[in-house]
């Protein structure tokens, strides 16, 4: 509780301001210095408020839980030998949290997806016997339900939604820029705190940030998307998505 830097900063600023205001006003008799003391108290209160709004769970614990979840899915993917890219589904094609489909056989033809995909691990998405896939909850998928406004199909609306989740809710990046070109989406995540690694899980599902981006973009456009490329260069992640169907 006490080692939260925002709380320490807030207490320090408020305490210093509370001492400085009467000294500046009554002893030094300076209004500008008194105003600085007042500003210090205001910023101190704000910093304390930010500390209380931060989650109680430590970043290390969050990372551990994330890695455990990813390792479980990675073990499943490796055991089944699945190498195809995951397909992120919009809310109209799934039940519950954001889902990603990983085909068990050939690639998925999204036109064959019938109705909503149920909340099960192994799902049948079409009429053919081979239309089987693994359906997993996308990392950060639960956050999509907490969004007050659902994203729209324009690049501005998708950018706003991704910024809201990545910078505001999860604090995983500094900012996000989105460009749409026909069936492709180019997303630049500036200052990402999780990077791409060339491991089985990431090759199939994409990095956690790319998964969140793909889930939001899919919801916004209302069509399934897949992560076609992901690079990290000059302090930013460049994610390329392809709209399917």
């Amino acid at each position: 509780m006490t080692n939260n830097p925002y709380r320490l900063l807030g207490i320090g600023l408020t305490f210093a301001g509370a001492i400085f205001v009467p000294v500046a006003y009554f002893v030094i008799n300076s209004i500008p210095l008194t105003a600085i003391g007042l500003s210090s108290i205001m910023i101190g209160f704000t910093s304390i408020t930010l500390a209380t709004a931060r989650p109680q769970i430590s970043p290390e614990a969050s990372q551990m839980i994330l890695e455990t979840g990813m390792e479980n899915i990675a073990a499943l993917l490796e055991e089944l030998g699945l190498t195809r890219k995951a397909i992120y589904l919009p809310s109209s094609m799934r039940t519950g949290n954001a889902q990603a489909l990983i085909p068990l056989g050939e690639g998925i033809d999204v036109q064959r997806i019938k109705g909503k995909i149920p909340r099960r691990l192994i799902v049948r998405y079409g009429d053919n016997p081979g239309d089987m896939a693994i359906a997993v909850t996308a990392p950060g998928g639960t956050n999509l339900n907490k969004m007050e406004i659902k994203p729209g199909p324009t690049s501005g609306e998708i950018e706003q939604a991704i910024n809201y989740v990545l910078t505001g809710m999860l604090d995983l990046a500094n900012s996000v820029e989105v460009r749409i070109s026909e069936k492709q989406l180019y997303i630049e995540v500036i200052g990402p705190r999780l990077h791409y690694e060339n491991v089985w899980y990431y090759r199939c599902m994409g990095s956690p940030i790319a998964s969140i981006v793909a889930s939001i973009a899919s919801d916004g456009i209302g069509k399934p998307v897949t992560i076609t490329e992901e690079n990290y260069q000059n302090g930013k992640s460049v994610i390329q998505l392809e709209v399917l169907g």
């Binding site: 925002y6 105003a35 205001m42 910024n163 505001g168």
Partner: protein, 85 residues
Amino acid sequence: MRIYNRYLLFLVLVSCLIDILLAFTHQTDIAVYFTVSVIAYLIITILFIYFSPKTRKALSLVSVIFLAGFMVVVVLKVMEVLGFK
């Protein structure tokens, strides 16, 4: 830079700027410093729209407290103008 750090840094810079500008204009009324700072605070807080709902709720509470202080200053000024003080 994380969004919380950016927000705090922005508040500090704007507060310093306001205090310096008002000091240069030889402003000697502490109520003016306070009201301008509160207005700037409220504007900056509204501009940071990407905060999580929990953070925005907490900051709204602080904003209400500062706004109450702002209203007290305004009421006192109005009373002064009307000759009640």
